[in-house]
Symmetry: C2
Subunit: 364 residues, 2 copies
């Protein structure tokens, strides 16, 4: 049987407790986990730490009702990060349970907020992001990919929603009133809700906790346009960030020495993981005697979130670290091997996925 | 020869002087008028009182270069007003000079700012507004009508432009930061500029002075996206409002007793014009002795702006009023006859135009 509660403590748990309070995220509990059929490793290990109205999705699954899952691609950069990987893993989970699956290439948002031309976004998405999402597990036959700039329905909803949020609400949610932010967030609400236009149904949006303002805004908008559209407010699950390799909360491109992208060069992987912040003790002797502290360790977090599929194996690593058997040097080498294997596998699947991109059906 | 300067003074001229200063509108001068081939009555009579960069259009006409003219339909109401009529008259003027002509049904703006459903706007535009625009003179074969909700290009431009205007600029222009206002104004800029996407060319937008903030914003946006799109900032001409029949600056639906819509019932026309504020004197004797004051007269303004095509006839009315020959009672009856004739003619042409709407080619 799987691990039902997080036996390793949570990485930087305090930050997530704060998020739960601040952003009205409900905690993801053992009770909810038990109701999800064959939960994935992110759920079993409580890397998924919060949710909004997940009950509605559980009910749809139990009653075999139609529901959908949706995520986006931000095509402004030619790599993805481990946060994207978690989103895809969760998306795949719901796809396998029968969710109608949408992936939106946010080319208009990239244009508005990052001044990336539509053609540039398009090329990058076709050449890299969409194949990458398939390489990471999405079933290309069951996934509806589309470009935001070609989704008339979502764009029109963006206009319908624009009268439903007040200036002070925008200010409270985003702390700013930049037109590009406002318009992008309303369009995002349009993208999240357009699958319900003909047929209202529950939807699940797997996101990082930084996206919760968008979820809440979309839910508000759905409530406030009930008489016009009858949308069901979308549900969400939130996963923890992959910590930066210096131990900070979140990997970020702005500090590349502590961040591993997908893909990433072998040399760079080796160097970054060898330099990673761990839960090791000052001396080898101390570590043999006291054991390591995997709860604080960025390498262990990589195993837990990404590199170790089976709970038994993860338990074993945890045990060996705690009792001083496994020391950081060895452990990092093992992590490097697993990471290189992951990257190799990814690149192989990416090449394969690139060949089928021109056969995909895009929403128009 | 036509009348080259406004011999009757301007109705509420002070307000327009203020507008010229406040909204950076350039005065429409005799020199400009002389450069326009066969100016229409609104131009000859300086009802067109201001412009922005009209020189660019005059140059295009002189050099036989391509240019376009564009206007919008706000489909939230089932009648039009005399301001719309002036816009159409000016639009026709440039259409006759060879301007590629676009008319945008602002269904998304109606949705965002007035919560009118797209289907409702569509039906109203097809049933009334588009036929009305044709009835008032637009050549259906040379006019590209389209629905904002179906113009992908303009919508995408709206997103591209959203990063080009700061919050404080929006605040300065519109006095508010409502999302629906911001998004509508950026979309309007998209609509004004999309005809240039493949081929930059000068464009002329005939508007009332209250629309000048949109023109200025669009020009700013064109400048600021020069490297991305190379748009030529659009030109504009501004016409005076048709005064309300109580002598206030502008007819308004909110005071229906002083406002004549197109179309309007005969009884209602008779009553409203009979009650109209004129430049008449207190007593008939005074009027015979001193003459009337057509400069202050809402009835004379109806002649000047709408009901009298030939300058000779208008001059004659002016002369007879000034020397006390024509008194208000008679004059109002004459105005009623002319107004009823206009309405009858409009309704006849409207019926005819309705029959060809389904043969129009819409931009898609």
């Amino acid at each position: 049987m799987g691990i039902l509660i997080d036996p390793w403590g949570s990485f930087l748990i305090k930050d997530y407790e704060r998020l739960i309070g601040e952003y009205r995220i409900e905690p993801f509990t053992k009770e909810l986990l038990e109701k999800l059929p064959n939960p994935n490793k992110l759920m079993r290990r409580f890397v998924v730490f919060g949710h909004t109205d997940l009950q509605r999705i559980i009910k749809a699954i139990e009653n075999k009702e139609k529901f959908y899952a949706l995520s986006g691609i931000m095509p402004s950069y030619d790599k993805i990060h481990f946060g994207n990987k978690m989103v895809i893993e969760n998306l795949c989970y719901f796809q396998n349970l029968g969710a109608k699956t949408f992936v939106c290439v946010a080319d208009l948002e990239a244009l508005a907020t990052r001044k990336v031309k539509l053609e540039e976004s398009r090329e990058r998405a076709l050449n890299f992001h969409i194949p990458a999402y398939i390489a990471l597990g999405l079933d290309p036959k069951k996934t509806i990919f589309y470009f935001q700039s070609e989704n008339e329905k979502a764009k029109n909803l963006c206009f319908a929603f624009s009268s439903k949020i007040t200036t002070s609400e925008f200010k409270a949610i985003y702390g700013s009133l930049e037109a590009s932010r406002i318009i992008s967030s309303l369009l995002q609400a349009g993208d999240i809700l357009f699958p319900q236009l003909e047929n209202p149904m529950p939807g699940i949006i797997p996101v990082g906790p930084d996206q919760s303002p968008h979820i809440l805004l979309t839910r508000d908008v759905a409530h406030r346009t009930k008489s016009m559209f009858g949308f069901i407010p979308p549900s969400a699950i939130y996963h923890k960030f992959t910590p930066a390799l210096n131990g900070e909360l979140k990997m970020s491109k702005s500090k590349p020495q502590y961040c591993i992208s997908i893909p990433e060069e072998e040399d760079s992987i080796r160097k970054k993981i060898m330099d990673a912040f761990t839960g090791g003790r000052f001396t080898l002797r101390e570590q043999r005697e006291l054991g390591g502290e995997p709860e604080k360790c960025t390498v262990f977090e990589l195993y837990k979130q990404h590199l170790v599929e089976y709970d038994e194996e993860l338990n074993e690593i945890y045990r060996k670290c705690k009792n001083g058997e496994l020391i950081c040097g060895e452990c990092k080498l093992m992590c490097i091997e697993k990471m290189l294997k992951f990257m190799k596998n990814f690149e192989k699947k990416l090449e394969k996925a690139r060949k089928i991109v021109d056969r995909l059906k895009f929403l128009k």
